[in-house]
Symmetry: C2
């Protein structure tokens, strides 16, 4: 929570960080240059200046076309930590919670994936987390072997799969930042805004998960979550029609 005004000044790169040793093979036929042109600040061909919105349509279409529809009852387990990661899910309906539980029984919910999001794309051997249905969940599930076979030959699919996992990583890092630097009500508001953004809906938005789920997501106790809701309501930042229906203001 330090503000980095002074700091150790990450400036003064002067002539450090330059290539000092051209290394044996000059890579790609750039005879005179110790360092190929890609080292310079040139953006890659496909990257427009305007932030290019990543699409996962190839990946999603593939799973939708080849996957099997499965249903999960509220609070049932979709995939369990340590078990073989034999499948990938694409959510069609409902909300999932992805979490881990430590040896003391403390639970951390990393995400609440919903319609149009993948669950299980990040593992190939065994699950490193657990996923449970929050409400009634419908998914398309695809055997991992099928996905892997296609990944081996389909470049576009590979790019999208990588991009998806990268996005997960960036998401987690954003959460780390939030957890260490913002206070309860702000964390709740951020969560609600993010959640609302995943719904195209206007008007009141329904929260499928319990206060405890929210608490274990944003790192508070259920009581503090409740107080944070009351605080946001009192200060006019949200409208809370019922405990489950809210609107951002």
């Amino acid at each position: 929570m330090t503000s980095l005004n002074a700091g150790r000044g990450a400036e003064g790169n002067s002539d450090w960080g330059k290539t000092l040793e051209p290394s044996p093979p000059p890579v790609q036929g750039n005879p005179g240059l110790p360092c190929p042109p890609d080292f310079a600040g040139r953006p890659r061909a496909k990257a427009a200046l305007a932030e290019e919105k990543q699409s996962y349509e190839t990946l999603f279409s593939f799973i939708r076309a080849r996957g099997y529809t499965q249903h999960f009852q509220p609070d049932s387990t979709i995939l369990l930590h340590e078990e073989p990661a034999n499948v990938v899910y694409l959510i069609e309906t409902g909300t999932v919670r992805s979490c881990t539980i430590d040896s003391f029984g403390h639970r951390q919910i990393f995400a609440f994936p919903r319609k149009g999001e993948l669950v299980g794309i990040s593992d190939t051997d065994r699950w490193h987390f657990t996923a449970e249905a929050v409400d009634h969940v419908v998914v398309k599930s695809l055997p991992r072997t099928v996905l892997e076979q296609e990944l081996a030959v389909n470049t576009a699919l590979r790019q999208e799969s990588r991009a998806y996992i990268r996005a997960l990583l960036a998401q987690r890092e954003k959460q780390l930042l939030m957890l260490s630097h913002s206070k309860g009500p702000q964390r709740l508001l951020d969560f609600l805004v993010t959640f609302a953004a995943s719904r195209p809906s206007t008007g009141y938005i329904a929260l499928p998960m319990s206060r405890r789920d929210i608490a274990d997501h944003i790192g508070l106790s259920t009581e503090s979550v409740s107080r944070a809701f009351s605080h946001l309501k009192r200060t006019g930042r949200i409208d809370l029609k019922t405990p489950e229906k809210f609107k951002i203001i």
Copy 2:
């Protein structure tokens, strides 16, 4: 920080979660089965029961062989958020800090990669974070185009690259768990243990980074980090010879 004793009982999967709709193409010539055998709990061939330690030797060797040696001065910038991700680094010497800074100037350090770790493997277009040298850092840097060309044709490399990013994701999730559920001294101890584990050294271990860096990593103020050090020392969990040299007990 709830303990999940009662909870909504993630049991009772009974006959939910079964495939309800065989979906058009039965995939791989399993005529009668609506669901190929990989759906069952069979581990994949390569996965031994004993936790298989992932090796990144193909990836590392490739970078070592084709990369360029670069040096970075303490506190110089290795890669900057938003700039083109044209390169991948393998650290040979020194310690790096990978971080992001939010709009209020709050900094979150995600990791302190060191010898034998990669920096920048997670992005392909632009950096989603910043990396700075903590002390004098020597790296092998490889143009991304070279890596991508090889990834396109080298399956082993692809697997290792994916595994590396997966490991980063799991690491971040572990950090999230730690940040929300453990207190200052415990967080510091976890960090020190992790840091010590990355050194094969016996005896006292030197900390290259400042208290502020540690603070921004484990989500405390510098003063609290200092108090946590004192606390661990007082309760006999660490031996602190100088502010930079410690030993786990």
